[in-house]
């Protein structure tokens, strides 16, 4: 990344965030349906990021040890285990399954 690239990168990301937080967020605030949408949308995005990071590598669907780690993580989170513990156990399970020879 060159200094010019950096400047454009910073400006671009800031523009995206401020557009969301002000231009879009400001116009539609107060509408009940929109309020509800704003609650559901992050869930869709977060679930999408999780599925992409768990089941894909580059542009391919790849099923490997990550699935085991994330499945355990989901189970623990369901049982309301603290986040820090969930993360550590998920990493350990993934590492163990890999060590055992899968993915």
């Amino acid at each position: 990344m060159t200094p010019l690239g950096l400047a454009l990168f910073l400006a671009g990301v800031a523009a995206l965030r401020l557009t969301g937080g002000f231009a879009l967020g400001g116009v539609i605030a107060g509408n009940d349906r929109v309020t509800r949408l704003l609650l559901l949308m992050p869930l869709s995005i977060v679930a999408a990021v999780i599925s992409v990071q768990t089941f894909t590598t580059k542009a391919h669907i790849v099923l490997d040890a990550r699935i085991a780690g994330m499945a355990v993580a989901a189970g623990l989170a369901w049982r309301k285990v603290p986040m820090g513990v969930v993360v550590v156990i998920a990493a350990c399970v993934t590492a163990l399954v890999r060590a055992a020879g899968w993915g």
Binding site: M1, R17, G20, G21, T56, V85, V87, C92
Partner: protein, 278 residues
Amino acid sequence: MSSPPDTAVATTTVAGAGARTRRALKPGSFRPLDLGTLMFASAITGVAVTAIMRDVGTPAWVVMAACTFAFSGTGEVAYASVIASGGGMVPALVATMLVSSRFGLLAMSMTGRWPAPLWERIAVAHFSSEVAVAAAIEQRPAGPDAARRAFWQLAVSTTGGWIIGSGIGLVLGQLGDTRRIGLDVVFPASFVGAVVNALRQRDSTAAVLLGAVAALALTPVLPPGLPVLFAAAGSLVALGVEPRGWRRPAVAPRAAVSAGPGPVWDTVIEDPFEEAGW
């Protein structure tokens, strides 16, 4: 006059009745251990991203400026991977904007969650990340203060870890194969809680499943970043699903009645799975 710690001890002795006492967490607050783990996880990501940026010949100060002021690790990786594959600056920036576009939507979903002055609204937009936004949404039933506390605790710890990790990455260089120790699930595992919790309600379950499936289906056919962006549209479909828990209540739940004219989806559902013995 007793100092605050003394007061705390005295209260403990009286009220604690021998039980090991831990100061109760305020709603929306995380345990220091959780925040520490998350900070560590972000630091690891920072080290990895710095290595990728350095590989394509990025000066150290540019790496630090990028991680400190943009807070988009995936954006940096997208930029670096286009450059590494022989692309120019324009396609690299386009790729960056695509993968970072979700931050705009995340920032949008944080608007109006709690009363905030202008500077805080700008800061919230800047620090909106999956982890912090997911936690704020999850804490919403506990009130705006809890949502705000959860957001900022996670935003500060992940940003702090991220910047420190990027700095360490400049010194360390390559970490080696982080996949071997399972570090590739650290990021998704850190916000799996919000998603799992969303499965307790019908409409949020739809949002989660549609988002996850759409992103997977689109990954082989679209450039990186776009699948997640389009997956956000899953929430539009989920809007048509009834906002309530899984068990059909025999009578209107008390909370719904006492909540008065508030929108029905703001009704706090007393954990239906707890009752069912899950």
